[in-house]
Symmetry: C2
Subunit: 406 residues, 2 copies
Amino acid sequence: MGSWVEGADGSGFGLENLPFGVVGRGGGPARPAVRIGEHALILEPLAEAGLLGDLPPGVLAGPALNPFLELGRPAWSATRARVTELLREDSLEREAAAAALVPLSDVEARLPVAIGDYVDFYSSIEHASNVGRIFRPDAEPLLPNWRHLPVGYHGRASSVIVSGTDVRRPKGQLPPPEPGGAPRFGPSERLDIELELGFVTGPGNALGSSIPTGAAREHIFGFVLVNDWSARDIQRWEYVPLGPFLGKSFATSISPWIVPVEALEPHRVAPPAQDPEPLPYLRTDEDWALDIALEIALAPEGGEETVVSRTNARGLYWTAPQQLAHATVNGTNVRPGDLYASGTISGAEPDTRGSLLELSWGGRDPLELSGGAGRTFLEDGDTVVLRGTAGAVSLGEVRGRILPSL
Amino acid sequence: MGSWVEGADGSGFGLENLPFGVVGRGGGPARPAVRIGEHALILEPLAEAGLLGDLPPGVLAGPALNPFLELGRPAWSATRARVTELLREDSLEREAAAAALVPLSDVEARLPVAIGDYVDFYSSIEHASNVGRIFRPDAEPLLPNWRHLPVGYHGRASSVIVSGTDVRRPKGQLPPPEPGGAPRFGPSERLDIELELGFVTGPGNALGSSIPTGAAREHIFGFVLVNDWSARDIQRWEYVPLGPFLGKSFATSISPWIVPVEALEPHRVAPPAQDPEPLPYLRTDEDWALDIALEIALAPEGGEETVVSRTNARGLYWTAPQQLAHATVNGTNVRPGDLYASGTISGAEPDTRGSLLELSWGGRDPLELSGGAGRTFLEDGDTVVLRGTAGAVSLGEVRGRILPSL
């Protein structure tokens, strides 16, 4: 059965999806909502009217979803079931729901969660191998630890921004022209993107405990698209020995609508085989690869979009439960609203790679855009759009435009 | 002129200091306070009574100092001046202040701020050189970027804990016994400490802007002692190429009382000369090295303390304004309550090193504790205490005890 909301069925944001986000108008308050078609269903008035079941007061009052995320899966499922009933063709509460519906064109989608910690993994074997080949052409592309653990690091939480926010080209130290020389300073000349999928956490764990792979479903609320903007020149000069810092911390964009795990259940598939078998704490019998088709589109200022890569998240070597089990095996605590991103998602074929670094092979092979322009790395005014779709469920898009350095 | 609070003068927490923190009793609320001697002056009742000047309502209501930090230096200075007047021997409001005073023995000091982002630098040239010599004995100890920028990375904010909180020994993947082999799994066998100094930020900057070295005083509220607990074996296996992750993220302890910049002004001294001269955005004429004497004490379970290292923060190569200017030069945004730690503080002499890794030279030379026990890395039940003093101003201590792995 479909929805009474016009245009919702078949839009990617029908009853199969029902992603959660936060919307606002102008300087007004940010209010939690569920997206249905081209509308946002504002949740707080429905909760106050008792139409969303037994939720604690205020958990959907905004400005972020964190208090709702903290409630956990039983509350998430019950709320999703009630929202489904409200929006179905046979709804008995259609009038009340319609009163809570606003067109997306009347509001902006805001950052849906107050992010506590942001972790970025490196879970695509194709990406890690490509980076190894580009940066260390004479060595084994995969480092010795890569097949034993989901390599990751902490990113910056303050600069996680919502789709549609412009990105200022970062300045910083650029590698010395010759070894042993002094660095140059200026705007990044190798500004890149990374196509990633991220998950947002619900209830956390106490410091000193960990989250086994089998418990992931109780701790993961849903998924977003992530563009992990990267300044390759800044990164290359700074990253040994403590990892990426300013090459990443200037901005990370996410899609505004968090697609719940329940909407993605039909799209869970078997992950790639892992060899060698990982340590017991990383094992799981559950199929947690996600069959999500992904694409990267790039448009120069005033120009048309070109899709420069099409790939799929299902090829990721390390899955979300493995990432979460690894991140917490030392006893660190997850909090509601943490963001864990996959790392760049690249496939085996050249046109399935998830970064310009790989697509242009370190800047050697420029991409041709429709209209004839070439690109190795991003130019000022470029707009990048990442999109994702799992059958009838859309992850929407994450969009960003490059502003020149100040 | 001294304070009427008994025992405050000469205690390290007299009128020269007046550090800010947050205290609570049992499960009760956490309330912002200023430490004076062995007492906490609870601020909210004084603010409500109009005795702290013109503060916006609620900024000292707790549970953390963030709303107060956000106000900025004019409000911090005015509040400090009012607290000084309340606590001076000639105070006309002694009775009101006495009513807001509680003995520290009646309360626990809580984590003083909700930490947004936690960044850890690597700013001691002696420490970076020692680590290079231990891990890469055949290579140049300092990497090519080290003298050009304050190397740093993002740590985990969720597991920053207050002094006195026990630390559970982390489990994780330990390096393979031979190259190319499989990792082992278990409790860390090389659990270490890092003696650091950290600063907590007040007002931040907008995304896309940066904080020049000359503006540091408007953005830095004060300093704490930091113990950046480190599992050297986990770290060694995981850290290439994206930096430390689980080797650090299990716990970072800070001292509970944030010593304001104003209390440290008399202890600002010239930093070491920098060669080569750094890029313009890292230059400053102001003296921002801090003459803070530091020590590391270690006590086995039930045993006496041994001071295993004495050093000074003034030797740090990169200063706080340089760290903050570097961290934001790419346009990332600082928020009130961020924590920026110095990295391990080591001096030139063997007994001035700031980690067991260096003090035991990679585990080769065990330390002897009073009572005759030896230590390379930490054993279960060990308590570590870091202390800091700048003349009459104490930074207090950061204390933690190691619990066995679960």
